[in-house]
């Protein structure tokens, strides 16, 4: 406890979530401040300093704040979170304090939530296959331990269900330990938060996970801290305690909107759709905190959920997320309408690290060519079905009709797997069944042994 602290009573103005304080001596960027009023105290952070005037963002918001009766105390410290084994099973707020008010009994470390960049020369490549039990992910857009793979979703699409399903089913084959789940709820509704917590409770993840919850009704500014707190906790458990940590962050759109709110209050020049020009760097400072480190056992795998307003994939938050992360799982409204669950659009989905996690010894030999064949054939079938709308069935050649049938079978059997959890072998069999619809000469990428298997299935059906 410091005996003396510096403060200022000269609150000059309030604008949105920001207050402007004069007579602030030697303020530091990012410094934590305490704002004392007659009605209680609030906390804030220095965003900008110009001479003795500083702009401070107030985490609790500025509603009811009166410049006349506020004293701003400078704490000479940055925002930190307390870390320790005791966090497991806790529900915290955006700043890492328990939401029910009971303090955490003991902690081992206290670290700034902004973190430090991981040395790229000390990372190690993610290369362990994670089986999610969802065929369209496992076989076609494989998730790898240490990857950051977002789910791009639209309003009304089941991103939450899929995320919860991944948390429930994800496992590294041959490794009995399951993941430590760190869940960051960023500005989501009470209903959504309840869904997640209930689903975690069901599977037991609730008691070996850590939950950082900032609801839509909580302070918007605290949303800027929520993912950072979550990731600092994740780093502690991954790299100090050797856990494989799975971080689910939802929803990054709310986070970016909070960033925009602060940016516009600071009167910064707006970029695309009013988001600040540094949105890319800011998002990267979160997403890049996933990965593996050479010589350490733990890892951080991230599954951020990003809403696409109006299903628009070129929306800046979605677009920039796509540039930073290592692929994306895209949900599709048309597939949802046709009753396909999970409605994953496999063609626009991608896992950039897939090649590192598949193949002999990891999944099965020939994984890559089979996946490539499925992609190519499905893309072709989509093309044919578009063509059919114009020229009708009569105009199609025999091969094209095969493709049309393949498309239907693929969506019905392979993509529409429901809530079942399939092993990679079961996913492969489903894929082979679909491929058997096509004649051999169209399966030009498939290796011979799998082609034989497909042939066997075909003669079986026929």
């Amino acid at each position: 406890m410091k005996l003396y602290r510096e403060g200022s009573r000269l609150v000059q103005g309030i604008s949105g979530p920001l207050i402007f304080v004069a007579n602030a001596r030697n303020a530091a960027l990012g410094e934590v401040v305490t704002i004392e009023t007659k009605k209680g105290t609030r906390t804030g952070q220095v965003l900008q300093v110009d001479g003795d005037v500083c702009a401070i963002q107030v985490f609790e918001g500025t509603l009811g704040l009166n410049p006349g009766d506020s004293t701003v105390w400078f704490e000479r410290d940055v925002v930190k979170v307390r870390l320790g084994q005791a966090l497991i099973g806790q529900v915290l707020d955006g700043r890492g304090l328990p939401r029910n008010g009971t303090p955490i009994p003991c902690f081992e470390q206290e670290l700034p939530i902004s973190g430090s960049p991981l040395n790229p020369a000390m990372r190690s490549s993610p290369n362990a296959f994670i089986e999610t039990g969802i065929s369209s992910i496992d076989l076609l857009n494989t998730l790898v331990r240490g990857q950051k793979l977002p789910i791009f979703s639209g309003a009304g699409l089941p991103a939450n269900e899929i995320a919860a399903q991944i948390v429930r089913q994800a496992r590294v084959p041959g490794n009995p330990d399951t993941f430590l789940v760190v869940f960051a709820a960023i500005g989501i509704t009470e209903r959504e938060a309840r869904f997640f917590l209930d689903s975690f409770e069901e599977t037991g993840a609730r008691f070996h996970g850590i939950f950082i919850v900032n609801l839509a009704s909580d302070s918007a500014i605290e949303r800027l801290l929520t993912p950072r707190t979550a990731l600092t906790i994740a780093e502690f458990f991954a790299f100090e305690k050797n856990f494989d940590v799975l971080v689910v962050m939802t929803d990054m759109l709310h986070y970016s909107e909070a960033l925009r709110e602060v940016s516009s209050a600071r009167e910064e020049a707006p970029g695309r759709r009013g988001f600040p020009g540094y949105l890319y760097s800011d998002l990267a400072s979160l997403y890049e905190r996933a990965g593996c480190i050479s010589g350490r056992k733990g890892s951080i795998t991230q599954i951020p959920i990003v809403s696409m307003p109006g299903d628009d994939m070129t929306h800046p938050v979605v677009d920039l997320s796509g540039y930073i992360t290592e692929g994306q799982i895209v949900l599709d409204r048309r597939m949802q309408a046709r009753g396909i669950y999970p409605p994953i659009n496999v063609l626009s989905s991608l896992s950039r690290l897939m090649n590192k996690g598949i193949g002999e010894g990891k999944t099965f030999a020939g994984h890559r060519p089979v996946a490539d064949q499925l992609f190519a054939s499905y893309a072709r079938s989509r093309e044919v079905s578009r063509l059919r709308l114009i020229i009708g069935d009569e105009g199609l050649t025999e091969t094209e009709s095969h493709y049309l049938k393949f498309g239907t079978v693929f969506e019905k059997i392979f993509l529409n797997q429901g809530f079942a959890s399939l092993t990679i072998e079961e996913s492969l069999i489903a894929a082979e069944k679909c491929l058997s619809v096509l004649p051999d000469e169209e399966l030009y990428r498939v290796p011979d042994d799998i082609l034989e298997e497909v042939g066997r299935l075909r003669s079986h059906d026929g």
């Binding site: 001596r25 030697n26 303020a27 530091a28 960027l29 990012g30 410094e31 900008q48 001479g51 940055v78 902004s114 430090s116 960049p117 991981l118 040395n119 790229p120 020369a121 000390m122 990372r123 190690s124 993610p126 020049a269 970029g271 695309r272 020009g277 540094y278 890319y280 760097s281 990267a284 400072s285 890049e288 905190r289 990965g291 480190i293 010589g295 070129t314 800046p316 677009d319 930073i324 290592e326 692929g327 994306q328 690290l353 090649n355 190519a376 893309a379 072709r380 063509l387 114009i390 020229i391 009569e394 105009g395 199609l396 050649t397 025999e398 094209e400 051999d440 000469e441 030009y444 990428r445």
Partner: protein, 589 residues
């Protein structure tokens, strides 16, 4: 001479300091008690704005700023190759003896870019009293398994005679003098250069030599010249990075400088893990021995991202001055431009298009124009080159945005990556209809001389066929495939074979990742022979569905794995076999 100031205001990565003495624009400053590195970027009435190359959270108003009187520079010498640096030249793999490099980058760490403890064996190739000029090579040191790193007279030194030079086989560190000139100048194993200043050359040369990438679609259809510049724009997930890494792996440059500018950390890791294990097909040595990596990943400080491309260019120029062909790759130009935009925003400058500063184009030009093939300084007539491959990440995949457009104006080859191709997993997803290369005409004589007229024929065949295919595809949209003539149906199938076997190239298949130029030519010829053969048989009455049964695509895909030496015999055998089956069919129908 150092002078001092005091921090007055702080915003993001830019600080403002009150000066006690005048300072130079772009002078290096040490900010705060932690002495964080920064650069003066604006001077105004006794105050200076400084962009700081590190995170400045927790830095107070009132802390001191020291101005060093120097501009941002880097030590150039042995030890650069195989190493990885951050945007301002600090070695990221640096560690004290017995320790491992830091896992998390703490700010304010300081290490020299060249390891002062390493010793190198010097081999002079000049002797006492010989006259030397700036740019001349006075000796070499051996790096790695077989790279002779030239020790040069730095640019700007007056020509003079050698007074003394250390003997053959001496062990020296980078800070040791190796030679003394009669003018009194001393030559060290390393030399320092300011990153924002181009290193001089005698004369720029025309673009007449090809740069071989080993990628079929690039070399055959959109070639780039030594000293040229190619731009690779594409939305996310279109394979920019994989394309660039394939280039870095298989191109015939002697040195590759790879700048990870605001991109993922894992991509750097990939290079660091993979490249030491891959053998360069041109020299037989590990690829890492010709690489210099600059990693300023997206989560590292933004201002250093701005500096990183100049740093990379300076290193490339240094190796060019040795008479080498250097490939400089930056991934991505857009992230660099965003850094520029962010700093400009902090300075409160008037924004131009899309919020980028008005000087975006001229800054980019300063970078692109430092590339090229050049006649080097020095007594002997030597040439060297820097070829640029820059990716651009246009927001929303829209190529009309300012960074893509400015890059196009400054470069000569445009390899447009296409989202739709990427979605059907056509890689490299370079769109053959939108891409272009302006170097083709300049390179034609060399191709003609080295590969003969067959090359031109093959290229023309591929172009015509792809053009025909896209025409037919739009026809199919109206009348359906069934309504086409047998020949048209076959042309469509041939187009597919070309697209899948020739244009697509599997970067992860060791037999296909690299395709030598001669093999590309033979490949094109095989395709042409096949097309002529089948077309003739179709004229004779063979039907297209019969041709379809032959599995030509599968055949072509296995042919493309055949090594260059056996390619000609194997492929002609295969075409003959196809011919025989067709004749059987003809007899049958």
């Amino acid at each position: 001479m150092s002078s001092y100031g005091q921090i007055k205001s702080l915003a993001g990565t830019v600080i403002r300091a009150i000066l006690s003495q005048p300072v130079t624009n772009f002078e290096v400053a040490r900010v705060g008690e932690e002495r964080l590195l920064g650069e003066v970027i604006r001077i105004e009435k006794g105050e200076a704005d400084i962009q700081v190359y590190e995170d400045i959270d927790g830095v107070h108003v009132g802390e001191p700023v020291e101005f060093t009187g120097e501009l941002l520079g880097i030590d150039l010498g042995p030890g650069l190759l195989g190493n990885v640096f951050d945007g301002i030249g600090r070695p990221l793999a640096f560690a004290e003896p017995g320790e491992t490099p830091p896992v998390f980058l703490k700010r304010g760490f300081y290490a020299k870019s060249l390891e002062p403890r390493s010793k190198w064996v010097f081999k002079p190739n000049r002797s006492v009293s010989e006259e030397v000029f700036p740019g001349d090579i006075i000796g070499t040191v051996r790096e790695g398994l077989g790279f002779d790193h030239a020790v040069m007279i730095p640019p700007g030194m007056p020509s003079s005679r050698i007074r003394s030079i250390i003997p053959d086989g001496s062990m020296v560190s980078v800070e040791k003098a190796v030679c003394e000139l009669e003018s009194g100048d001393v030559i060290f194993l390393s030399q320092r250069w300011q990153v924002r200043t181009p290193r001089p050359v005698r004369e720029k040369l025309p673009f007449t030599e090809p740069f071989i990438t080993g990628q079929r679609i690039l070399d055959t259809m959109f070639p780039v010249a030594l000293g040229g510049a190619a731009v690779v724009p594409g939305g996310f997930g279109t394979g920019k990075t994989v394309t660039q890494q394939s280039l870095a792996k298989w191109c015939n440059a002697e040195i590759v400088v790879y700048i990870g500018c605001g991109e993922r950390g894992n991509e750097m890791t990939e290079v660091l893990e993979e490249f030491p294990r891959i053998i360069d097909p041109h020299t037989g040595r590990p690829l890492m021995e010709r690489m210099v990596l600059i990693a300023n990943t997206s989560n590292m400080p933004v201002a250093a991202r701005e500096a990183s491309i100049y740093l990379g260019m300076t290193i490339a120029e240094y190796f060019r001055d040795m008479g080498l062909n250097v490939a400089l790759m930056a991934d991505s130009t857009s992230r660099w431009a965003e850094a520029l935009r962010e700093i400009s925003g902090r300075l409160g400058e008037m924004p131009g298009e899309d919020g980028y500063p008005a000087y975006l184009g001229s800054r980019l030009a300063q970078y692109y124009e430092r590339a090229g093939r050049a006649l080097l300084n020095g007594k002997l007539r030597r040439t060297g080159s820097i070829t640029i491959f820059n990716t651009v990440s246009p927001g929303g995949g829209d190529f009309s945005e300012p960074v893509t457009q400015s890059s196009l104006r400054l470069s000569g080859a445009f390899w447009a990556l296409d989202k739709r191709l990427a979605e059907s997993r056509h890689f490299p997803s370079i769109n053959w209809k939108k891409s272009y290369s302006l170097y083709e005409n300049g390179l034609r004589p060399v191709f003609l001389q080295n590969l003969g007229p067959q090359w031109q024929k093959g290229v023309a065949f591929l172009r015509e066929l792809l053009d025909r295919e896209s025409e037919l595809l739009s026809l199919v949209q109206i009348v359906g495939r069934d309504a086409l003539s047998e020949q048209d149906k076959w042309d469509l199938e041939m187009g597919e074979i070309v697209r899948i076997s020739f244009l697509q190239q599997n970067a992860f298949d060791p037999q296909d990742a690299f395709c030598p130029l001669e093999k590309q030519m033979l490949f094109a010829k095989t395709l042409m022979d096949l097309h002529i053969l089948v077309s003739k048989e179709i004229e004779n009455g063979v039907l297209h569905y019969q041709v379809q049964r032959l599995g030509l695509l599968r055949g072509m895909l296995s042919i493309r794995k055949v090594p260059e030496k056996e390619f000609l015999t194997e492929s002609s055998k295969w075409v003959e076999k196809v011919g025989r089956s067709l004749i059987d069919m003809e007899a049958f129908s």
